[in-house]
């Protein structure tokens, strides 16, 4: 187990290195940041000086080595646009994204699992067919369209829910939370529903498929035959087996969640990391872009590792060696 973790850890580091190297390579083809940094009226000579001060005149491999060296010490460089450390800039936005993502995940997971089980018990009942039709809609509606639709209904047409921002937030140490005020919670409803909708539909369908498969297995039939109450059969015997792949997929799809949070945050002007990334891409703020990518990669890799390890612990049949 320990060797497995070490190996995964080393692989993770390799991935991070590769990712950052690719970023640096591609940055060469993006616009020149110096023009903006030197100011509108700078002469060519002054631009050259800015280039020198920020080390942008050095060859790309030298800059990369320096970046890695600094990154190892926790310094990911300063944002070209706001001239403060890129990592701080992103971490400042982290709580907003985290709360949104966790909320969406909870909605998607509980509703997806619950509805999936419900639907699988009587697949041909009218109500369940309706739920399935909705889930088809769920996987066919791109997140951005869901967002616009919800805004149009609840903010423009009915005007009962706010369509942008985070509302009142409370500062708890370094963490700024919107979960403690009524206003903050109200602002969370539409974005988290938007972010959850696609995942919800996917999880619902996954649960249903899993349940249908499990319900035909011998041991379930035996359980029914033994006369166990349906609650026990469904929840204890069937669902437990379906849970493993569902949890795994949820963990592995965290990248997807992060990606859709960019879309959601843009539509709702949610002050999170995704919103920052999109702005940074428009403004060509390379240090922030590369830091975001590295951070996202690190989170995803760690999560995958955790999922793998949990999986191994839950399911003793699997051995990593």
């Amino acid at each position: 187990m320990l060797t497995y973790i070490t190996r995964r850890f080393l692989q993770g580091i390799a991935v991070l290195l590769a990712v950052s190297m690719i970023c640096f390579f591609i940055f060469q083809f993006m616009g020149d940041p110096v023009v903006r940094m030197a100011g509108l009226y700078a002469t060519f000579e002054e631009q050259a000086e800015v280039r020198r001060v920020f080390g942008l005149d050095r060859p790309i491999h030298e800059r990369y080595v320096r970046f890695v060296w600094n990154a190892l010490q926790g310094n990911f460089g300063k944002s070209y646009v706001s001239r403060v450390p890129a990592l701080n800039l992103i971490l400042e936005r982290f709580p907003a994204t985290f709360e949104l993502a966790v909320c969406a995940l909870c909605i998607a997971f509980t509703s997806g699992l619950g509805l999936g089980v419900l639907v699988s018990l009587k697949p041909y009942a009218l109500r369940n067919r309706f739920i399935m039709a909705l889930s088809l809609g769920g996987i066919s509606l791109p997140t951005f369209l869901t967002g616009i639709l919800l805004i149009m209904i609840f903010s423009v047409f009915w005007n009962i829910l706010p369509s942008f921002g985070r509302g009142d937030a409370v500062q708890l140490g370094f963490w700024r939370t919107g979960l403690l005020t009524q206003d903050g919670l109200k602002h969370l409803i539409l974005p988290s529903l938007t972010l959850a909708s696609y995942q919800l539909a996917v999880l619902l369908r996954l649960t249903r498929a899993g349940m249908r498969e499990v319900l035909t297995q011998e041991y379930i039939k035996t359980a029914w035959a033994k006369g166990l109450p349906p609650r026990i059969v469904v929840l204890k015997h069937a669902l437990r087996n379906v849970m493993i792949p569902v949890v795994t997929i949820t963990g592995l799809q965290f990248g997807e969640l992060l990606a859709f949070s960019i879309v959601t945050e843009t539509i709702y002007q949610w002050p999170g990391m995704g919103n920052l990334l999109l702005t940074s891409i428009y403004e060509n703020d390379q240090p922030v872009i590369v830091t975001y990518i590295m951070l996202a990669a690190a989170i995803i890799i760690t999560l995958n590792m955790v999922v793998d390890i949990l999986y191994a612990l839950l399911n003793p049949k699997i051995r990593y060696d």
Partner: protein, 295 residues
């Protein structure tokens, strides 16, 4: 069961499944419209010589102020919405099919080689695939395009392909690993067939079944992805038609009461994806041996 009988059973089931028929009818409708776009649209919305600002922001014909031939109204550059939608579908389908074809071929080949040869090739490609997969197609394509920016449709296709081949590779590899153990493969090997022959003649055709489902699902995902990227302004450039871009433009007008600019492209996009998903659902049920079908 012989192969022919499987095929005919598949066909029979297909013709008797309402949602599969509805799905493919929708898809067919969109494909036909996209192919026939130059002949059936009243206007080529991206031919600058025929466009004019004169008819900008015209509402649909049945509303006050609407005029022919702008059945569904026009946008703020005087582009006919219906024509733009049809041309936009064209872009969606071109991107969708190209990506599915390119990344499908690539993924199947990689999966086949990895599954068949195993060892370091398997480890290397699957580690890569895991990483790409966990980054998610959407995030990766978004980052790639965000960095490359304004490229045009080929760049969009390329970026999505870079992120998308893993779906095929992973599925294919799993399938190959199963097929490899089958008796007829061992028999062929015993009969002295070479690696290449076994791989192409026996393993490839027998492990493709699960790929069909992936193709169908992926087509829907890629079309949504292209729309999302264009919506965010990192996908198809301004000068090319795209449903995602139309929705992005229309979004600025929702408070102005000009709903036709967002509603029609929105509905079109959803119908297109629903059509594909209906077909994909049917295919999955049909090809999944683990589920007992009723009736």
């Amino acid at each position: 069961m012989t192969e022919r009988r499987i095929t005919s059973r598949l066909l029979w089931n297909y013709l008797h499944d309402l949602s599969a028929l509805a799905g493919s009818a929708l898809l067919l409708l969109f494909i036909t419209a996209a192919l026939a776009a130059p002949w059936i649209t009243p206007q080529n919305p991206y031919d600058l010589t025929t466009l004019s600002l004169e008819h900008f922001l015209t509402p649909p014909v049945w509303m006050e102020g609407g005029t022919w031939p702008f059945l569904l109204g026009t946008d703020d550059q005087g582009r006919d919405i219906l024509s733009t939608i049809i041309y936009g579908c064209r872009t969606s389908l071109i991107v969708g099919f190209s990506v599915v074809f390119i990344s499908g071929t690539l993924g199947v080949l990689i999966g086949l080689l990895a599954g068949f040869y195993g060892r370091w090739l398997d480890i290397a490609t699957m580690r890569l695939a895991d990483t790409v997969f966990s980054f998610s197609t959407t995030l990766l394509a978004f980052l790639l395009l965000g960095i490359f920016k304004h490229g045009g449709i080929p760049v969009v296709i390329l970026a999505i392909c870079i992120a998308d081949w893993v779906r095929y590779a992973r599925t294919m590899r799993g399938s190959v690993l199963e097929v490899k153990q089958e008796a007829y493969i061992l028999a062929a090997r015993a009969a002295g067939a070479g690696n290449l022959r076994i791989m192409l003649r026996h393993i490839l055709p027998n492990s493709l079944t699960p790929i069909f489902v992936v193709v169908a699902v992926d087509l829907a995902v890629v079309i949504m992805l292209e729309a999302t990227l264009s919506f965010l302004g990192v996908g198809v450039p301004l000068t090319e038609p795209s449903l995602g871009m139309m929705i992005a433009i229309g979004k600025n007008y929702i408070y102005a009461g000009m709903w036709w600019m967002i509603l029609f492209p929105g509905i079109t996009l959803v119908l297109l994806v629903v059509g594909i998903n209906l077909f994909a659902d049917w295919l999955r049920e049909e090809l999944n041996p683990k589920i007992e079908r009723k009736g």
